[in-house]
Structures are given as C-alpha cells and as structure tokens.
C-alpha cells in the first residue's frame, strides 16, 4: 500500500504538462509519416513495410548533406527524392518481378539498412541546431510545432488535391477494385508504383524533419515506423468516425491521421510519465495498435453477432410460450 502511495506521490503532474508540447511536435512529424502509410495501407490496400527503411533514409540523407554544407531545404528535397526512389524499388519488385506486397517491402527495407549505413558512413550522425541552421529543432518546441503544422497543412492540401485528380482517382480505384480498374483502361502496375513512390517520399520527408528535431540521424530511427504509422492511421480513423460519423470526408480523414499521430505520442508520453520502463514502449505500441485495429471489427461483431440472435430468439420464444399458456 505504501509502495503504491509513494508511487503516485512521486508522479509530478507538472512534468506531464511540461513534456506535452514535445509530444505534440513529435506526433505531428510522425503524423506526416503516417500520411505516407495512409496512402499505401488505406488507399492502395498494400501493406508496405518499406517505410521502416525509408524513414531512416530521409534522416540519413539530410544528416550527411548538412554535414557536407548543403542548405537545409536542399537536404529535405533530396531526402524526399531518396524516399521516392525507395518506394519505386518496392513498386518495381512487386509489379515487374511479381513479389508479394509484404515481401517486396521487407526486401527494400532490409536493403535500405545497408544503404543508410553507407549514406551516413556510420550508424549515428549528429546534426545539432548549434552547428547547422535547421527548419525545426527540439530545442525550440513551440517553433517546431508551428513549422511541422505548416508542413502538415501543405501536405494535407496537396494530398486532397492529388487524390481528387484524374490520376489520383486511379490510385484509389486500383486499391479498391483492381479488376474494374483494368477494365476501365487503368494501368494498375503504374498506379501502384506511383502510390508507393509518393508514400515513401512523404515518409522520408518526415524522417528528415525528425532527424532535425532530435538533433541526430540514426540508422535505427525507423525501426517500428510502420507500426507507429498504422497506430496513427487507425487511431485517427476510429476517432474521426466516432466524432463525424457519416459526415466524414477525405480531408477530415487526412487531418485525423495527423491527430492520430499526436494522440499516439501523448499516449506514449503518459506511459513514460507513469515511469514505465522505456524498454517496454514497443510492447505498449503493439498493444495500442492491436486494440485500435480490433475496435472496428469488434464493434461490427457486437452489432451482428450470432449470440445476439440466439438471445433475441430465446426471448421471443419464451414470451410466445407465455402467450400460449
């Protein structure tokens, strides 16, 4: 009992409030990454595991270019291009060589580990705001929130536009009905490659921003990125549908992916604030994602369950019995 009391008295609410802005900033940056996951997972219906590698690639490219004296904006653009290339490779492995979606992503991801090491020359490269001019940094969290929100706004707007165009529509139709898409003259291989490239470009951009935020790029920084991305997408979806119900539209869905990222990082903040060991955070992430993935299924099941039918029928029969008697 004393142990529990002393545990709770050791928790400092102010410490939680103090770390909140940091959680929000990280959540927005990872929310951008989650928008990339949204393109493949939700629109293309393709479980793309390339992102674990391409996130780190974005960080690696930005870090090595900063070290070599390039202006930060150029490094961000090249990070994005490197991500596009990574997605392109996954796409070609899948469409040209017929490798199943998950496997082609895993192959690129594994290859990128070596590529990222080669890009940086070592496994960790510091890019402190003291030595380089960065677009955002963890040292100025309020500014980092504003800048990452600006990125989020631009990217959400760009995605809303692109997926409303003739070309963007083909990506949505390819993901949802490939047979129909072919019958309507859509080259579904091309749609898949474009979507994978765009997705990983966005993921690498997010990786570049995150490396700047944390002040270093690490070859392992993308480990588990797909799960965090899925967490953000799914938390956002469940929440968006709960709040907007049938009025939910594409732009709200996109915004809720970012909100999902923020909520995920706040949840992680709570876990750390509760002094749970940091070694267990991945376990916690997996549990969150599993719960949120299960919610839509379980909710649907509770509405249409066999048990419910049985219960209703039993009730109906018992009342009938009474009437007969």
């Amino acid at each position: 009992m004393d142990a529990i009391l002393s545990y709770f008295s050791s928790l400092n609410p102010m410490a939680f409030v103090a770390q909140l802005p940091g959680n929000i900033a990280q959540g927005i940056i990872w929310g951008l990454m989650a928008l990339g996951v949204f393109i493949t997972f939700k629109l293309l219906n393709f479980a793309d595991l390339t992102v674990d590698g391409s996130f780190a690639t974005g960080g690696a490219v930005t870090a090595i270019m900063l070290v070599n004296g390039f202006p930060v904006w150029i490094t961000i653009i090249f990070a994005l291009l490197a991500g596009l290339l990574a997605g392109l490779i996954t796409g070609l492995l899948h469409t040209l060589l017929g490798i199943p979606d998950i496997l082609s992503g895993i192959l690129t991801q594994i290859a990128l580990y070596s590529v990222n090491l080669n890009i940086m020359g070592k496994s960790n490269l510091p890019v402190s705001y003291r030595n380089y001019s960065l677009v955002l940094s963890g040292s100025n969290i309020n500014m980092a929130i504003i800048i990452s929100l600006a990125f989020a706004a631009i990217i959400v707007a760009a995605m809303y536009w692109y997926f409303g165009t003739e070309q963007g529509s083909t990506i949505r139709s390819t993901g949802s009905n490939p047979a129909m898409s072919k019958a309507q003259g859509i080259n579904i291989s091309f749609s898949k490659v474009v979507a994978l490239a765009l997705s990983n470009g966005l993921v690498a951009l997010s990786g570049s921003l995150f490396a700047q935020y944390q002040g270093f790029s690490d070859v392992n920084m993308g480990r588990g990125a797909i799960v965090i991305g899925l967490a953000a997408v799914i938390i956002g979806q469940v929440l968006g549908e709960a709040l907007f119900r049938r009025h939910i539209n594409f732009i709200i869905t996109l915004i809720f992916v970012i909100i999902g990222g923020i909520l995920y990082y706040i949840a992680m903040g709570i876990v750390l604030w509760l002094k749970m060991p940091t070694d267990d955070t991945k376990l916690f992430t997996a549990v969150i994602v599993a719960v949120f993935l299960a919610v839509p299924y379980l909710r649907n099941k509770s509405k249409n369950s066999f048990k419910k039918v049985a219960k209703q029928n039993a009730k109906g029969m018992s009342t009938e019995g009474e009437n007969n008697a």
């Binding site: 409303g164 165009t165 003739e166 070309q167 529509s169 009905n177 047979a179 072919k182 019958a183 309507q184």
Partner: protein
C-alpha cells in the same frame, strides 16, 4: 467489328489440371450485331469474353477489333475498345467511391489521365441526365458511395460506365445472373435499350435460353471451347427453346444433359 480467328487457350498446361478452354474458336461480328451466347458450364463462354478483353494472352490465334489486331495488347490497353459488365455486381464498380467518381473514371477510359480534377462540374450535370433516364432514382444519389447500392443498381451503373463512351464492342458476361428475376429483367431491358439507341455491337453470355432467343439478332451456342451453332437473321426470329434443344442434339450428337448444361429454359 469483331473477328476471332482460330483462337486456342489451354489453362494449366502440362499439369493434371490441364483444361483446354478454347479449341480453334472463330467468330465474326458485324457492326451493330447483338449476339447472345449460350452453352453449358465449361463450354468456354466466359473464356471467350476474357480472351477478347485480354485478361490473359491467348496461346494462338488472333482477336481483331475494328480492323486492329489487339492480341498483343494487355487488358488495360484493350479497354479503350471495350465496355464490360461482369456477372458479379461487385466487380464492375468501386464500392468506396461515389457514383459520379465511378462514372468519371469510366468516361476517361482509353484517355490520358492527367492532373485536372477527377469529376468536373459539367460532367456531373451530364451524368445526372443520364442517370435520370434509367428511372432508378440514382440521379439524386450522385455523391453516394456505390457500395451502398443494391446489386441491380450497381449493375445498372456498370452498364452506364461500359457505354458512357461508345465502345467498339460491349461484353456482357452473364450480367443478370446474380440478380433476382425482376431486377434481372429490368437490367436486361436497360441493356437492350442502350444497345439499340447507340447501335452497339455486343456479345451477351446468358444461361437463360429464352433470354438468348428474345434478345439480339444473332445467337451462338458453345461446347468444348468451340462454337457449335451459329444462328442469325430470320432463323433466329423464329427460334424456340425446343428448336434449340433439338439443334444441340443434332450438332453434338448427344442428348442434352441439362444437369451439366445448367441451361434454364424458362
């Protein structure tokens, strides 16, 4: 308009599951021909349509549409010549896109898809008019997701998508088989109307002999990957179900095995 020349296709060649699906299939359709296709299960009806659409390459032979040999073109490139409606109402439309978006995708079949807006305002007006003619009340649900519609409504949308730009050839692959009788006859009526109004060349696969006789100006019967009966003109007009059964027995030299044929006579 359509010429199929001596087409062969064998599935799973060299395995125990080898199936010779098309064995020297040849067929010529003139412009404006509406040809119904009957035959038992495994006769090669759907396979013929898939060979025309380019779902897979044929082993040998040629498919010529409007004078152009399309045998070497992949499915998405042949799509510009074809309008297709499938047996499964789920196949022809994208469930989680709006009615208008589905129509807009079909309206761009065979055209370059660029970065202009996917559904333009003037298109919506046009689609509204087209849907109004269907009399299904769909014109007021243009922004509804197609997944919310019934099977019959989805087939009607697919039919409109297939013909929204006049195709060289319309392929109807048992497109009413998954519908209830009332809806089926309505969709069939709609198909008839669209084909007549646009003077389309069409191939319609059906299991229903009466439908096959009542619609179109030509009728073919398939068996074992070949056409065994080809009826047109006056002969087709006078045709009855009994005639058809008799003719089948004559041509194939065996009594019709209705369990295997799965042909419906009513």
């Amino acid at each position: 308009m359509l010429e199929i020349k001596n087409v062969y296709k064998t599935f799973n060649k060299g395995t125990v599951n080898e199936k010779r699906a098309l064995c020297g299939l040849s067929l010529t359709l003139n412009e404006g021909d509406f040809c119904t296709v009957i035959g038992g299960n495994g006769a090669g009806k759907s396979t013929m349509l898939n060979a025309i659409a380019g779902v897979w390459p044929v082993d040998s032979g040629a498919v010529i549409i409007d004078g152009k040999d399309v045998s070497k073109l992949p499915e998405h490139k042949r799509a510009s010549y074809l309008g297709r409606v499938f047996q499964d109402p789920m196949t022809g439309t994208v469930a989680n896109m709006e009615i208008a978006e589905n129509l807009a995708i079909a309206a761009r079949r065979g055209k370059r898809r660029g970065l202009s807006w996917g559904v333009k305002r003037e298109e919506k007006v046009k689609y509204r008019e087209m849907l109004k003619e269907f009399g299904l009340g769909l014109e007021d649900r243009m922004t509804s997701k197609v997944g919310l519609l019934s099977g019959g409504q989805r087939q009607a949308i697919t039919l409109l998508m297939a013909t929204i730009q006049k195709p060289k050839l319309l392929l109807l692959d048992e497109h009413t088989a998954a519908l209830d009788p009332k809806t089926a006859s309505k969709v069939l009526e709609l198909s008839d109307k669209i084909i007549a109004e646009n003077n389309l060349t069409a191939l319609m696969v059906t299991h229903n002999m009466k439908d096959a006789i009542a619609h179109g100006n030509r009728l073919i019967m398939m068996n074992d990957g070949k056409i065994i009966l080809n009826i047109s003109g006056e002969e087709k007009k006078k045709l009855t179900v009994d005639d058809l059964l008799k003719k089948f027995e004559q041509v194939s030299g065996s009594k019709i095995d209705n369990d295997r044929m799965l042909l419906s006579t009513d």
